[in-house]
Amino acid sequence: MNNIQEIAEHKPTPGFFSAVGAIIWKDLSAELRSRELLSAMLVFALLVVLIFNFALELDAGTRRVATPGILWATFAFAGTLGLNRSMAVEKDRGCLDGLLLAPVDRSAIYFGKTISNLAFMLIVEAVVLPIYSVLYNTNLFNPGLIVVILLGSVGYVAVGTLLSSMAVQTRTRDVLLPILLFPVVIPILIAAVKASSGFLQGLALTDVMPYINLLIVYDVIFIAAAYMVFDFVVEE
């Protein structure tokens, strides 16, 4: 009995970053093993590209204009699949309660999940880009484009993680996420498409900067907002 009390007196609590790290490690190792989430996202992403191919009859001329739009629509659609799955895993065996029971700040849970989701998103994007390049004989290896994809994905998962943790706690679950998410990520899609096409067409940096700035502003504002309201989403 004394034994327990003694230990209890000196209960350690983990640091913020080690809790964030633990969640990321957990998500990535589970995914590395099952590959359920990534394979679903990837197959879906490629199917979306395929559908656009037939829907828009992508000849060389159309492609030049449509590529940024196709890429971002693909990322947005595939992204909701990943976000849904990633939160469903937490809800299935009551694991969300398990996370909430841990003596860590709730924002650590938010940032952990957000960074995992971002990793999944970036992996899918890293696979889709070269495939798209090969399929349409377009060079997409443009450092500017990569920066845009990074900034756009950050904002997308920042809002997406918050809204998906709401969506899984409703009766309508996965069907609700895109409906909640798409109308509020429109600024990202607008700015990212414009910036991507700017870089792909080789515009001057000054012409693209407004869109990059917009993405940065969006990311900062929404990470801050989600950080502030996440408690209300998970705590009864």
């Binding site: 004394n2 350690p12 895993v89 309660d97 029971l101 705590e235």
Partner: protein, 234 residues
């Protein structure tokens, strides 16, 4: 160890707990009995810091809720009817993850101890997805005691287990409940808790309507006591 005074919990307009008083001394093993829908789970979720009290005073391990929830959490182990484990991680990885979330000291050694205790050492590298209900529940207990908490909360831990698994679980519950830990366990199955608990409280209509120590109650009188408590509450 646990003090609850005039606890009220409302969900919107629905009042589930109506001025509940509850007190648990250090080292007690309290079985919280009551029919389905009486508010047992709600009450336990409040003690577990997962749900906020609407009104009233709640103290767990010397800390007030919900203000000092973080301090309570590090001293609390919870087992519910859901295992709170990740199916795509192995038994060992699950414990590793939760150990890191609690900042457990000398984690590797502690995990070995826990796996030994819950009898899953040979299955440590298997995915939790492949475990039977009983094994998942044993690992869930291992997860709960990982940070060596003073207070344990069990919410219907026997749900969905067959007879053998239940018996095995009981042995384990008794083992972890010893060592001076304070335990509150909800159940609607009297036969299951009869030999486990040192005190029986009945939760009915949102309050604790009766309470009796085991040594003050003759053998086989639990059912009698329970029926009277429910009748008195109406």
């Amino acid at each position: 160890m646990i003090t609850v005074k005039k606890l009220v919990k409302r969900f919107g307009l629905k009042t589930v707990l109506r001025g509940l008083d509850f007190e648990v001394q250090e080292g007690e093993f309290v079985a919280l009995l009551g029919p389905n829908g009486a508010g047992k789970t709600t009450f336990l979720r409040i003690l577990a810091t997962l749900s906020r009290p609407s009104f009233g005073e709640v103290r767990v391990a010397g800390h007030r809720l919900p203000a000092e929830a973080a301090a309570v959490r590090s001293n609390l182990g919870v087992v519910s009817h859901l295992p709170l484990l990740y199916g795509d991680l192995t038994a060992e990885e699950n414990l590793q993850f939760y150990g890191r979330m609690y900042g457990v000291f000398e984690l590797r050694k502690r995990i070995d101890e826990i796996l030994e205790l819950v009898g899953l050492t040979s299955r440590r590298r298997d995915l939790v997805r492949t475990f039977s209900r009983g094994m998942q529940q044993r690992l869930a207990i291992g997860r709960a005691i990982l940070p060596n908490p003073e207070v344990l909360l069990f919410d219907e831990p026997h749900t969905g287990l067959d007879q053998d698994a239940c018996d095995m679980l009981d042995g384990l519950l008794r083992e972890v409940a010893g060592k001076g830990r304070t335990v509150v366990m909800t159940s609607h199955d009297l036969a299951r808790v009869e030999d486990l608990a040192s005190r029986f409280d009945v939760l009915s209509r949102g309050i604790i309507s009766a309470s009796s120590k085991r040594n003050e109650m003759g053998k086989n009188n639990l059912l009698d006591f329970y029926r009277k408590a429910l009748a008195a509450a109406v």
